[in-house]
């Protein structure tokens, strides 16, 4: 074999283990559940292979599934907006502060490393019947009986914001940090106020980071089932809870496959739209 040919083969040899893993453990399984979603579950024994539209009909027409899909998207949207409102000024503060930027950023990265389940359950210590807030209110004499503040949609959103906010701040920070501050100064010297300069120069330039953070918050938020189980009540199920129920509790794997693919289609469409207009590069900058 010639040297050039060997050179050309080398990267493929290096890539093949990872590509094989992704193919066998992600892409083939996704195709498999697409096929599986057309199978039928029987009350006894194995699922029947074939081409049946029953699961899809149930998943797409049952108002129960539709309502939960809509409320899932609503919760994810509210979470994303809350993350943006809380995150943008914070990211701006870190990007524009003098000096100890690294420490501020490191402080922000710490929650990434603190376990998701711990961060989620930590709100029970704050908002629970015998939690910090109730104890404080009772000690101050504002209430005489503890109030149940947990297990509703608001606490689910609170938990999600707490989980996802670092993703938002990091992405906005990455794009704010890349903006030359001279641009704002130039706008000022041309007569713009600080606020005008921010609105017309800095904000538009940081939109890609805001969009990347928003996409991550929305997709991760809409795909969760742990937060509603820990911080939500029985009526606060999200779409991923339905998938979990179908697969793990009811063992209805064909229906679970259809529901999973529905979730993938909705969230995948968002990722596609994002990729079409902004490209994946921005997203990877924030993750890497």
């Amino acid at each position: 074999m010639s040297v050039e040919k060997r050179e050309a083969r080398q990267p493929w040899i290096l890539l093949s283990p990872a590509l094989t893993a992704v193919t066998l453990l992600l892409f083939v399984p996704l195709l498999f559940i697409l096929v599986y979603s057309f199978w039928l579950r029987t009350a006894t024994g194995a699922d029947v292979a074939g081409f049946h539209l029953d699961n899809w009909e149930e998943a797409l027409t049952d108002p129960f599934y539709r309502d939960i899909l809509i409320s899932t998207l609503r919760i994810a949207a509210i979470t994303t907006v809350a993350c943006a409102l809380m995150g943008y000024p914070s990211a701006y503060f870190i990007a524009r502060s003098q000096g100890n930027k690294a420490v501020l950023l490191l402080l922000l990265m710490l929650p990434f490393w603190i376990s998701y389940i711990i961060r989620t359950m930590s709100w029970i210590n704050i908002l629970g019947v015998s939690g910090a807030l109730n104890s404080a209110l009772m000690a101050l004499g504002i209430i005489s009986e503890p109030i149940q503040m947990l297990y509703n949609e608001v606490t689910v959103i609170l938990g999600l914001v707490h989980f996802l906010l670092p993703f938002m701040i990091l992405n906005i920070f990455v794009s704010l940090d890349g903006i030359d501050t001279n641009l704002e100064n130039a706008a000022n010297s041309l007569g713009a106020t600080k606020w005008q300069a921010f609105l017309q120069v800095t904000l538009p330039l940081s939109l890609p980071g805001l969009a990347a953070g928003g996409l991550l918050c929305f997709v991760l938020g809409a795909g969760t089932y742990i937060t509603p189980l820990v911080l939500g009540g029985p009526r606060d199920a999200m779409f991923a809870n339905l998938v979990f129920e179908a697969i793990i509790t009811q063992l209805n794997w064909p229906l679970g496959s259809a529901l999973s693919l529905m979730l993938l289609a909705v969230l995948g469409a968002l990722v596609m739209i994002y990729n079409r207009y902004l490209g994946m590069a921005q997203l990877m900058k924030g993750l890497g």
């Binding site: 080398q10 990267p11 290096l14 890539l15 283990p17 990872a18 590509l19 893993a21 992704v22 453990l25 992600l26 399984p29 996704l30 559940i33 995150g87 000024p89 914070s90 701006y92 870190i94 922000l108 710490l110 490393w113 603190i114 376990s115 998701y116 389940i117 711990i118 961060r119 359950m121 930590s122 029970i124 210590n125 704050i126 939690g131 104890s135 707490h162 906010l165 701040i169 600080k194 997709v219 809409a222 795909g223 089932y225 742990i226 189980l229 820990v230 991923a240 979990f244 697969i247 793990i248 679970g256 496959s257 999973s260 979730l263 993938l264 995948g268 994946m280 990877m284 993750l287 890497g288």
Partner: protein, 267 residues
């Protein structure tokens, strides 16, 4: 105008401080309550005590969960880092046709919602005769930590110059010698960072793990989740504190080691 700007900046700083408090207060309360002497482990606190940590150390189920999580995390880190480093080398060091498409394919496991990935893997491997098992759990953890390893390793690999390697080769080192004596030591911080990232993500995972784990096997997060179903006990807060020390302490230690190594090798 100067004062108005200062006021704006004060508002922004105040807002950022509130956000930091929002992020850290609940976690701080977990740590605080884990040292609570009171029997039910909540407010009002009655005193300082290590009793919950002592009980934790004697809880067989939790110790088992720790063992499972650590073994799973180490194996995941080993496999995922190996695959990720090889792939990153190919993407950074060679001109591969369609490199962008390949990158997107390799990142795909984090673009697919984890629930969907969990269902697909569970059903497919079950079809192949692999039941819920430690093997399935490991396969799942490898596939969704792989993109993170690739992103981290690639980012650091770019900064290693090829000149040093070329110099070694021109002085007569074989490609294999060059790799083990020049490239690998230079890459070590990237490899360690990737491995640490994979370990932490695997150690923390619950979304996929609940789908893949066999009955009776618990990792630390699923163990906490199962304990939460009863009620929040002070033991959970103690366990949370241990987890926080582990998952925050380890990366900080890793960061320090990487810095020290980088300083020593002068890059």
């Amino acid at each position: 105008m100067e004062t108005r700007f200062n006021m704006g900046w004060t508002l922004i700083r105040g807002w950022a401080v509130l956000v930091y408090i929002f992020m850290f207060l609940p976690v701080a309360v977990v740590v605080l309550l884990s040292f609570n002497a009171s029997q039910f482990g909540n407010f009002p606190m009655t005193g300082f005590s290590f009793r919950w940590f002592v009980e934790l150390a004697g809880n067989e189920a939790i110790l088992r969960a720790f063992r499972t999580s650590i073994i799973l995390g180490l194996l995941t880190a080993l496999i995922s880092t190996t695959l990720g480093v090889l792939a990153s080398l190919a993407l950074v060091r060679y001109r591969v046709p369609g490199a962008n498409a390949i990158s997107t394919l390799l990142i795909a496991p984090i673009l697919v919602p984890e629930v969907v990935l969990a269902v697909a893997l569970l059903l497919f491997l079950n079809f192949l005769g692999v039941n819920k098992s430690f093997g399935l759990l490991l396969a799942g953890h490898v596939i969704f930590t792989l993109p993170f390893v690739i992103l981290v390793v690639q980012a650091r690999l770019v900064s290693i110059k090829r000149d040093v390697e070329e110099a070694a080769m021109s002085l007569g080192a074989s490609p294999v010698q060059t790799f083990f004596q020049i490239t690998l030591p230079l890459m070590m911080p990237a490899v360690l960072a990737g491995a640490l990232f994979a370990f932490t993500i695997s150690f923390d995972d619950i979304t996929g793990t609940l789908f893949w784990k066999p009955g009776g096997v618990e990792t630390v997060p699923t163990q906490i989740f199962a304990m939460l179903r009863n009620s929040i006990s002070p033991e959970i807060n103690a366990l949370g504190t241990v987890m926080i020390v582990m998952t925050v302490g380890l990366p900080l230690l890793g960061l320090a080691i990487a810095r020290a190594m980088a300083r020593k090798s002068g890059t």
